[in-house]
Symmetry: C2
Subunit: 212 residues, 2 copies
């Protein structure tokens, strides 16, 4: 199984690396990090650079396509070469997936028309602009398209995907290897659970960016 | 706050990127990825390269030190320059932390003698070799040393660390931004919860590596 993870300027590292860590352990999985140009890709806050080992043209027909998000995914949404690659790849994928605002990138490529999909909770409204049916769930599957909510949700999505594409024991093995038995020390991981002041603070800081 | 995350050949990406994604969002946090030599660092399965922007000598006195793990952390444990840097940095850190078998690297540097600490569940026994008190909890704090269990546990640790060093609302904001409201689709994330056949399969495949 060839798995392409798209990288682009300003991408959020955990959106890509969370699912990567799950998917690469599946039997015969070969994960390829791809970008418009191979080489270093600067993540969203400038403190971490991930390397794209492959150009888009090197991986035209991945079995699984994964588009991570960014606080501002404009570098991908405005890049016609990326959108064309996504459309072409999607035509033959077994699974087309996104994490966080990666769904907006899929949307900009025209892939989500009429599709139930999710994204970061602050970007759900923006998703509607692309004809998708915004769905406030952590992982949403509609046919071969699987989308995940904000940032960390890509781990949950990837485990679901492994269980679907491979089998449950394989997903369980991977979950145990990465010791994914989460114990968040606080309970503020969704807008419903976070205190109102926290939620409003986050919207004030980031809402315009993610809703754009 | 200067935060140094050590990279080395064969490191597990999520061990580093999980806590990075939390820590870099704390006010005035500056995360620096460091390695013996700056440049690309190959992660454990050869499919992803992370960049170390800094050499060890560039970041001699980080406020927070984080050592991620690896299936085989030998490249760090056997590198005297790394171990000396860890010892020197630890002398003046506010927090010294590890994820997964990063604790073995701290142990090899002599930092865990008499310290309650945790690591990947398959490496707990190995941790005892360094004089640590292996403790089977997801996040363990002993004074300024905070250690996390396997791979994905670094996210929980980093949120605890932000709550301690900054404050609870800051940690809650970050948790909400990264939408860390985990919903694992399966319940196999710890050796107690996984089916016996899954646990035995994982031990057969990886036990020797992690226990070494």
């Amino acid at each position: 199984m060839e798995i392409a993870i798209l990288l682009y300027e300003g991408v959020t590292a955990l959106d890509a690396v969370g699912p990567y860590e799950v998917l690469h352990m599946a039997p015969d999985a070969q994960v390829k990090f791809v970008a418009t140009r191979p080489g270093l890709v600067r993540t969203d806050f400038g403190m971490l650079n991930l390397n794209a080992d492959y150009a888009l043209a090197d991986v035209p027909n991945p079995d699984i396509l994964l588009v991570p998000g960014a606080p501002d995914p404009g570098a991908a949404m405005g890049d016609e070469a990326v959108l064309a690659w996504l459309r072409d790849a999607h035509a033959t994928t077994t699974w087309t997936t996104s994490v966080c605002t990666g769904a907006l990138v899929l949307g900009a490529a025209g892939i989500l028309v009429g599709v139930r999909a999710t994204t970061h909770w602050m970007a759900l409204d923006a998703l509607g602009q692309f004809g998708a049916q915004p769905t406030s769930e952590r992982v949403v599957r509609d046919g071969k398209i699987m989308t995940a909510a904000g940032v960390s949700s890509g781990i949950d999505m990837a485990l679901s995907l492994v269980a679907e594409q491979w089998d449950t024991p394989t997903a369980q093995e991977i979950q145990l290897i990465i010791e994914y038995d989460p114990e968040p020390p606080l309970q503020a991981g969704s807008p419903d659970k976070a205190p109102a002041a926290v939620r409003e603070g986050v919207i004030a800081k980031y809402g315009a960016m993610l809703g754009g």
